[in-house]
Amino acid sequence: MPLESNKPAWFALVTVLFVHVLLIALPSGDPPRTGLVRTLIIDGLTPFEKLFDLTVHTTVSLWGDYIALVDTERENRMLQDELSEMRMQIDSNREQVLEAKRLRRLLDLELPSGREGVVARVIGGDTTLVRHTVTVDKGSLHGLYIDAPVMTADGVVGRVIQTAHLASVIQLLSDAESAIGVIERDNRVQGLVRGDGSSSLTLEHVNDDTAMAVGIDLVTSGTDRIYPKGLPVGRIIEILPVQDLTRSARIEPFAALGRLEEVLILIEGWGTTELIEDLEELRGKGPLL
């Protein structure tokens, strides 16, 4: 094929790549904010994510509760169908009870002074292999903003890194770019917990090696100006060799970062009434209280 006929395609390629370079080079602002292009894309994708999430959830549920029983003996079909329906009902009820319990735990959390919580459902995971992020179904219209801390009833999950109007992207503690200031709950020794892309975290920059031991709990120190002081983060599970005169350790996060369903986002200036309404809306049933 002669090169001339490809000229328009080459021109289009160079133009589009140039646009991407411009997007990459665009500063995120000070304080950081989510750009218009990203906001529009996230808002546009949110309904599809919710729909797909619902479809997958329903399909998995049906497969587990019904389709797996299709191969039962013919003479027992009526009974099996009835059993299946009952199982589905029980599973459904059990799921609702578990969900209500989880939401109740979120509601019962003692929030840090000056903070209120917005409950959000996780509707998507990361689309790349290297990042550890999730998408939630609440955005700037619900009061979320960049750097708002995110937690579950068990502990800190991460922070908001992008907000669109109806959805936000949460950077998990396990992300390679995540760092959080911590303090040992009993000994008050400070350190920095970083993610490294695996399921566990790393505690770094601890000078006082006498205080470190397996089993010690870590809470946020508040020194990073993102996470309020005193939120549970994780527990030391392994002491690592000394490097550069500082000690480090492997940390198991309290929050189940790989199995997130609902999270609580700590924001300023959000009333308890709205939080209860959020929980009730998420649960889709009667009042919690």
């Binding site: 094929m1 589009v16 990203r38 997958v56 998995v60 995971g125 990361d126 292999l129």
Partner: protein
Amino acid sequence: MTTAMNATMNRYGSLATLAKFAFVSVGVVVAQGILSLKFQVFAYFDLPLIYCIYYGFTLASPKGSIAIGSAMGLMQDSLSGAALGVNGFSKTLIGFVAATAGTRFDVDQTITRILALVAFTFSDAILKVVLEAVVRSGVAEVYTVSPGTWALSAAFNTLLGLVLFAYRSRTQNAAA
């Protein structure tokens, strides 16, 4: 009148094709996000990358591949912590190269497809590492994924890509 009707039908046909590709592109990116959340193994797949290569090879339309790669990359960037444009740049380039290769070479051989899928997966990874390193503080802090993990990802992508190509060949043969 007939010419006007044909023009209208062509326009609607083009719009329908555009809508179809837009819908599939959105579906692929959203599926990647949801499936990697629900099933850990899907984190190793890069469905948008596979779709870019598949589209480039089978339809051999460089301009279309640029548009699809760019759109899917931007959607991937938006739903992840990556800098906006990193995946867009990478997928645009890979889509274009795949489409150009599709117009100039015989990409129907299985071995060619395997080599291409592996090469494109690693090219995508290298491009993203370099671009992220330029934007962020450094490669080591940003990308901690081991070469073994990339190799596993390349293997999964190649496997799924081959299944898609085989499915297409089968449906084409059945139609013929």
